[in-house]
């Protein structure tokens, strides 16, 4: 095995050049992503500007110029990534667990990291669970997507939420199997 003898200065320069080229490639890649994101934001910006102009025009048709003194700007937060996202996530999660059921506490524990929910106290969490979370579950119940079942266990009776599959032979078979397993 022959051994090359590279002078230390050249060795250092070659290594530094390779590292610098690697950094350059990384920066170019990030720049490409940032430009693509900027182009997407540009499209969103134009769409929102057009929407604002449409709303202003319609407001002018309904209440006239007076609206200009009233309109404000609010940070319309979308905590769940869009209208209906929380309910959609609940549907998908409960459906994925079928034929098992999940109680609201378990569902909320799973939802917290998904939507980045933060609660300042236990009371805050309970308020959210009662007012928002269970309201969405009740809506799914009204729409016929889920059903409520009592969960077996010691202590207070807990409610489980289970996907309500459309009646067919397969679902009947699954239900029978889960009943046997329980």
């Amino acid at each position: 095995m022959s051994r090359t003898n590279t002078p230390p200065t050249e060795k250092w320069l070659l290594n530094e050049l390779a590292a610098a080229r690697g950094e350059l490639a990384e920066i170019e890649r990030e720049l490409g992503m940032a430009q693509a994101a900027a182009a997407r934001l540009e499209v969103c910006l134009r769409r929102q500007q057009s929407l604002c102009q449409s709303f202003e025009k319609v407001l002018e048709m309904t209440i006239g110029e007076a609206h200009r003194a009233w309109t404000a700007q609010v940070g319309a937060h979308r905590p769940y990534g869009g209208r209906g996202s929380l309910r959609q996530w609940l549907r998908e999660t409960i459906q994925a667990e079928y034929p098992r059921s999940l109680d609201s506490v378990t569902l909320l524990d799973r939802a917290i990291p998904v939507f980045g929910l933060v609660f300042v106290s236990k009371a805050d969490r309970k308020r959210y669970c009662d007012n928002t979370f269970r309201r969405q579950l009740a809506s799914l119940l009204e729409q016929g997507f889920v059903e409520r079942l009592p969960l077996a266990g010691r202590g207070a009776v807990r409610t489980g939420w289970r996907w309500k599959a459309p009646a067919d032979l397969n679902s009947v078979r699954v239900q029978a199997e889960s009943a046997e397993a329980a």
Partner: protein, 121 residues
């Protein structure tokens, strides 16, 4: 008026928006009918005499109505993306602002006189 931080959509708001769209459709159909009749020599006898100024006013009003229609379409779609505002019909409530019912010819003159810079006086 204090703004309430709610984005609740109500049937009242939807009804109002759809009524506005229908009235714009109705007025557009009327203005386009008059402008088309103006262009078609054979149908001019259905109109009262309009001056050049009035014809230009009608054309400006047509542009304004198209703009209002686009704005209302965007608003209705924002309200509910499943609605298609182009399917909304036609209403003639916009005529009430121009006085009592009268013959077509009289109404056309009344309308042409009421148009000022694309707006209705």
């Amino acid at each position: 008026m204090a703004l309430t931080m709610t984005r609740t959509r109500t049937q009242t708001a939807l009804t109002k928006l759809v009524t506005m769209v229908a009235n714009v459709h109705g007025e557009l159909a009327f203005v386009e009918g008059v402008l088309l009749a103006e262009e078609t020599a054979g149908r001019r006898e259905t109109l009262a005499e309009l001056t050049d100024e009035q014809r230009k006013g009608l054309a400006a009003r047509h542009s304004v109505l198209l703009g209002q229609g686009e704005a209302l379409y965007a608003t209705v779609r924002q309200f509910d993306s499943e609605l298609n505002p182009e399917d909304i019909g036609v209403l003639d409530e916009w005529k009430k602002a121009l006085g009592r019912a009268c013959s077509n010819r009289v109404f056309q003159v009344r309308y042409a006189l009421a148009v000022d810079g694309g707006k209705l006086r």
